[in-house]
């Protein structure tokens, strides 16, 4: 059996759905953040697969941008979560209840 475009796309869609499920179901901020990264990487996989199978390099260049931006986003995000943890001693979404009507 040869591995074709559709195999990559199915894996990518599965990863994306797993990430989304993690964001919805898990209650710990760090785990939610990991799931978000999984979703981004699912998109990267789809981009690279499309790029490889259509002989068009735009997609691979775009992936460089997403990886760089995701790295910046992670550094800011982890710093924020750590700052919140220092203040509240918790990283659970149930405890983020200061802002309400």
């Amino acid at each position: 059996m040869t591995v074709g475009l559709e195999h990559y796309l199915v894996v990518s869609a599965l990863l994306f759905c797993l990430g989304l499920l993690g964001v919805i179901v898990r209650r710990n901020l760090l785990v939610i953040y990991m799931s978000l990264e999984l979703m981004l990487n699912a998109a990267n996989l789809a981009l690279v697969a499309f790029s490889r199978f259509t002989n068009n390099l735009d997609g691979q260049v775009f992936v460089f941008f997403t990886i760089t931006v995701a790295a910046a986003e992670v550094s800011v995000g982890l710093a924020l979560i750590v700052a919140l943890y220092r203040k509240r001693q918790t990283a659970h979404v149930e405890d983020l209840t200061t802002l309400k009507l």
Binding site: L9, S12, F16, G19, V23, L29, I32, Y33, L36, M39, L40, A42, A43, N44, A46, L47, A49, F50, T54, N56, D58, G59, V61, F62, F65, T66, V69, A72, E73, V76, G77, L80, I81, A83, L84, K87, R88, L96, T98, L99, L101
Partner: protein, 484 residues
């Protein structure tokens, strides 16, 4: 490649980096004044843009970076808009500076970096630039939102913005991947040529819808509005103001480009979707604002409603509707920035920014009370202010489309109902200023000279746009000429 096309962005970036450098040699008490330097720099760039940058009549669109970056009338309109917004927000930040414990120079510099992201967004002609500029805005706003690290509310707002923002980023990138996979291009110009033939391709349409999710998050339209009230409430006031006007307008600039430059043939078939999103945003924002006591949270819900009003112009799918969007955004700039400037000054020591904290404002500072009254009247859409004429243009564009689709008439009624509901809570704020229940703190508020000038400018802008709409309307019509 002609680097002078990027002059706005490069100048703003240089200004931001320069501020960070100067900060190293300045004594601590002088750092607050850096905000004036930043504001003056942005003001000079705005003057440069108004008087020195012109598009040659022979080539109305100029490209850079292999057609990724486009400088056209729409881009120039939005660039001037963002520069003006940043100028006012920076002046407001200087007033706010004493409430930020440390790193005030970084605060100003981050605002300038967010501004450069907005300037790039207004010129995006490729999904890569769309994504990078969107992230440049969003990631700087994560930091800005949580800048008051000593306040739990500020941190919590930052974390909420982070999680929902990152989620919308993931949707956007996946959407771009699907659009790219089907059409083999990321460029808006090339995409517009081939989009029509993919009109029935489910994967292509799904990808496009995911991109719209990301943009819907930026403009805070229903059902992606969930973050707005919390973040508006928790963020430092100047950041809230910049989010309310800069971030929202950047979202609209990108939305107009994607819908009317990249895929105009598909947009023409999406009128139902746009009508529903617009109508529900208006109702949701206005109804949820009614019970709010926190003034910033109230304006957060009102900004959801205003995203709905602005979407009226997009849903109309006509040139008149698109120029009405630009006109309404300009009026919204003066209105919302004057409201947040008043909040920044008047609710200095008030816990939770409660509406009751405005009690007796007309005796503490008549100027602030008058500005707030005018801002609320303009948000509600009372003539002769900018908000009235903007809403009139938007509704006119929608009614004109009525004969093609009955949904447009329903949308008009929804919008009018929204306006009536909004009168109640906007005038609740005015009532809290002039008719307080009990005597409150009546110490006079000192309004510094730059802020006084800013407030006069905002009042002037609100009245001018309401009374003499022709000049700006002509400019808006020119700006949207190249959109299909």
């Amino acid at each position: 490649m002609n680097l002078s096309l990027l002059s706005h962005e490069l100048l703003v970036l240089a200004l931001g980096l320069g501020l960070l450098l100067v900060d190293l040699w300045l004594p601590v008490p002088a750092k607050r004044k850096l905000g004036y330097v930043a504001a003056a720099g942005v003001g000079l760039i705005l003057l440069y843009s108004l008087f020195c940058v012109q598009l040659p009549a022979s080539s109305p669109v100029q490209y850079a970076f292999g057609q990724m970056y486009a400088l056209d009338g729409l881009a120039l309109f939005f660039k001037r808009f963002f520069l003006l917004a940043a100028l006012i927000v920076l002046l407001m930040s200087v007033e706010f500076a004493d409430r930020i414990a440390s790193g005030i120079a970084e605060f100003y510099a981050l605002m300038l970096f967010a501004l450069s992201g907005m300037l790039f967004a207004s010129s995006a002609n490729d999904f890569a630039l769309l994504f990078v500029s969107l992230e440049l805005i969003t990631v700087t706003f994560y930091v800005l939102t949580s800048f008051q690290r000593a306040r739990v509310t500020s941190l919590e707002a930052g974390v909420k913005y982070l999680i929902i923002g990152a989620l919308s980023t993931a949707f956007t990138v996946y959407g771009i991947a699907l659009v790219y996979g089907i059409s083999h291009t990321l460029n808006f110009g090339l995409l517009s040529g081939v989009a029509a033939q993919y009109g029935d391709n489910k994967i292509f349409l799904f990808g496009l819808a995911l991109v719209l999710v990301g943009l819907g998050f930026k403009i805070a339209a229903f059902p992606f509005q969930i973050w707005a009230p919390d973040v508006y409430q928790g963020a430092p006031t100047p950041v809230t103001a910049f989010l309310a006007i800069g971030s929202k307008a950047a979202g609209f600039a990108l939305l107009l480009r994607v819908l009317f430059i990249a895929v105009p043939d598909i947009t023409a078939r999406w009128s139902n979707l746009l009508i529903i999103i617009s109508g529900v945003s208006i109702l949701y924002g206005n109804l949820c604002a009614i019970p709010q006591r926190n003034l910033k949270r109230l304006l957060g819900y009102s900004s959801i409603a205003h995203a709905g009003y602005l979407l009226l112009g997009v849903a109309a799918l006509s040139a008149a509707g698109r120029s009405a969007v630009l006109y309404y955004l300009s009026g919204y700039l003066f209105t919302v920035l004057s409201a947040f400037t008043v909040i920044c000054l008047a609710l200095r020591g008030v816990e939770g920014e409660d509406v009751g904290g405005l009690a007796g404002l007309h005796r503490r500072s008549p100027l602030l009370a008058a500005t707030m009254t005018l801002a609320m009247a303009s948000l509600a859409g009372i003539p002769p202010l900018a908000g009235f004429f903007g809403k009139f243009l938007l509704l006119k564009a929608v009614v004109e489309q009525g004969p093609t689709h009955p949904g447009y008439y329903c949308l008009t009624f929804t919008a009018l109902a929204g306006v009536v509901i909004s009168l109640y809570y906007y005038f609740g704020v005015v009532r809290a200023m002039y008719w307080p229940g009990e005597a409150a703190d009546l110490s006079p508020i000192v309004v510094s000279k730059p802020i006084r000038l800013t407030l006069y400018g905002c009042i002037g802008g609100m009245l001018y746009l309401g009374l003499f709409p022709n000049g700006l309307l002509e400019a808006a019509n020119q700006a949207v000429k190249l959109l299909r």
